[in-house]
Symmetry: C3
Subunit: 342 residues, 3 copies
């Protein structure tokens, strides 16, 4: 195990240093697990008490005043500094450049400088792989696939014919890009398959989680915008477009032709019906079912989706239904009584 | 890029022609993207205005009267005609017949005429692959697996021992057929595995989406009926049977031993509990949770599922709960007032 | 097909025998399908009538008095006896010991006695595979992966660098263990990836269903406790811990850092938000959305989760909302009338 001098870390990370620059750091650990040779982090003020009790040798923090007398790396965005520190202290092992002898790469495939192709991978004719991209073990890329530069494809990914991946994309294991969209012409009880001849386009800096499915368009493109981050087991149907910077949490499903604006957030297990427009910055709670268009900036919850406040009130009301019914019973009793008296 | 004479297209597709038979068609594009060498389509009257403005060279349509003076391919089912036109103009590239040298196929496997087996695929002993079927790159078929004729297995599919696939089935990438059903005998805090010794049977013309899971039966069969279409990431548990012509949209889950009739439709993210009977033609909305048997033709929504109309009314009522509470408050005030006056 | 003498079966399974020990048993079948050479089972008293009508040669049962005059295997836990009988009569075919020539196994991998590695599998440097474990065709294990003894890895599983699997674990096809957790530092509209440098640990006797995803921790471990059983397509996020003996039914999702106690049960398509504590033995209905901590033994349903009884009452109330509204209308009419009369 190598170690880092705290002063060198500060310099490399562009952080301000407080305390002992000669401290040796070996690992990054959470506040309650860190010891004297560990760097830890405080990115949520909720944990100040914990930070004060922590035995961490040094702490990443936004404001030196929060932890007086400690060894600190100070930065306005401590969580981002943590990300950088993790990259530095735990670098991804480098892949062996070149094509593994067990891989099957068509003769005319274009491989950029520094590309690595793992064991048992398959790359079909006419495909192009950008410089420094890694194609993981067991990946299958079809014909005429384009993958940009500096991408990381984890093992056992499928990218079907003609699909295009931007630069610096990260795809986790088991992803399937370019499966056929779900389209049938149903006549007299027979569902005739509508060939899906479009493609999938991932713009730059997209990340897709494990076993995510993105279907090819019927015609044209299914498009995932720049910087979109998608968690595991998400379904993105044919002809969907997801605007830049959007976040799709695990097990979300988006039906065909729906268009998400920029910076939309969908919580876990939420779903959106087909042919909808979801405005920029809309936030859709976990488990919500969206069946209508949403304005930019909408905050919605529930099945069907409604404004979050309204949903919270309705749920509270649900819990009081029994009480309401009893009040109505009592009112009817009183009215009956009044009528008898009259 | 090759092109088609419109008159020849009409003849090959069995469509009626209106307009110029000598027009050259190169591509099929949506109404708003199509140009003078493109064929487009109008299958929903909602888009008539768009069709009139379209610059498409020719349009597929059900009724010539909708677009007078245009070049048209006329057919009673325009969406089906589109499907046929897509097949014709964008044929799937043919696969190289035979077994790729990197594939591992057991000696006794029966391969029909014209079968193709992709790179890195594995086929276990005793299996039989029907004529003209394509086994995609990286697929793993176990022992004694049967696949019918004219099937298309996309890359990286698993079919476990003894499972049987009908003719003309299409399986998208990442499908797992014949994983163990989820069954345990729980005694004194230990969940003992109940071996799952049944199989999965897919009848003819079934399509399964990417990363779909269909579990083998405990005993007997898990059965997917003729012509069933299943979207991505769907879960079908052990001993389920899905009747012919049913449609399961993305991320649906069906628990063990539940029986779906013919032409059942389950919307995205819907689920059905185990040991249920869902009648023919039942329609289950997206996100619905079915916990009881459903009659044939039932239309249901909600968690738990209830008749759709009732659910719509209940949801509308939820939005008015606050108002109801205020009305009760006001009634109580008035009663109080009346009593004081009396 | 071999056959078993009923008396020998009783002895091997440790069951009490009633009836003819010389009966030959060839298969195990459900009550309504079993014939004179079949063993069947009665583990739910609901099916006594069916059992009496069954033509099964012999029946597994808890109490001999339930089926007088029949050939019986009697045991206090008949479902467990069924599991044992299935193991005995339908043994899993043994795998060929050793490494298939098409597999790519790094030189320094430690392989225990009796290990089998299937075709096209990949095992990275520094990994260790315990005795008698089977690595299925097309699996990809990264660097420094540890798999215990007597494990069964079905085809096409991914286990990323450094993850550790206990003894007697069963992983179904398409599982992805150790994909990156979903963590970003979002600054000025850019989602910077937070490297996920922790691992996944599966304790002994864990089973994971097909296409399940378990993400590696940001730091430290994502941990699945001893004897946990996980159904298909479940999502387990970074830094989650699942207590021993828990059951996660298909398509469940658990968000980051949530801790489940021992023997928690989550029904199909249920979800839990991040950073929660779910107490021992909590039972979460299918489709429930848990957004707050749960006490030990809690029984909850609904979105958001509430005590099951309360939820059942609220759902019943929802169905009566229309009626409540009409009662309020009528009360207001009467009050109006009374005021007019006054």
């Amino acid at each position: 195990m190598s170690s880092w001098r705290l002063g060198d870390l500060a310099e490399r990370l562009g952080a301000e240093l407080a305390g002992n620059p000669d401290l040796r750091i070996r690992n990054i650990r959470p506040l309650d697990e860190a010891g004297s040779e560990d760097l830890s982090f405080l990115h949520n003020r909720k944990y100040i008490a914990k930070a004060k009790l922590s035995e961490a040798g040094a702490v990443i923090v936004a404001d030196a005043g929060l932890l007086p007398g400690r060894n600190l790396l100070i930065a306005p965005e401590p969580y981002l500094l943590l990300a950088r520190a993790l990259e530095l202290i735990y670098p991804r092992p480098s892949e062996t450049e070149g094509v593994h002898p067990s891989a099957v790469v068509a003769e005319d495939v274009g491989l950029g400088a520094g590309v690595s192709v793992g064991p048992q991978a398959v790359i079909g004719p006419g495909s192009i792989i950008g410089a420094r991209t890694h194609i993981g073990a067991g990946c299958v890329l079809g014909r005429m696939v384009e993958v940009g530069e500096d991408c990381l494809l984890h093992p056992r990914i499928v990218i079907e014919d003609g699909c295009r991946i931007g630069n610096r994309c990260i795809l986790q294991g088991g992803v399937v890009i370019g499966g056929d969209g779900f389209g049938y012409a149903s006549v007299d009880g027979v569902h005739h398959k509508v060939p899906q001849v479009g493609i999938v386009v991932l713009e730059d800096d997209v990340e897709l989680g494990a076993n995510v499915c993105v279907d090819r368009a019927t015609l044209g493109e299914t498009r995932i915008g720049r910087g979109v981050k998608v968690d595991n087991l998400v379904q993105i149907a044919h002809n969907v477009s997801v605007g830049p910077g959007s976040i799709l949490v695990s097990q979300v499903g988006i039906a065909g032709s729906t268009q998400l604006g920029a910076y939309v957030v969908m919580g876990g297990q939420a779903g959106a019906a087909g042919h909808l427009k979801i405005g920029n910055g809309a936030q859709i709670s976990a488990k919500t079912g969206v069946f209508k268009d949403l304005d930019a900036g909408a905050l919605v919850s529930g099945i069907p989706a409604r404004p979050r406040r309204e949903w919270v009130r309705a749920q509270a009301g649900l819990a009081r239904l029994e009480k309401m019914r009893k009040r109505i019973d009592e009112i009817e009793r009183q009215l009956e009584h009044m009528k008898e008296e009259a």
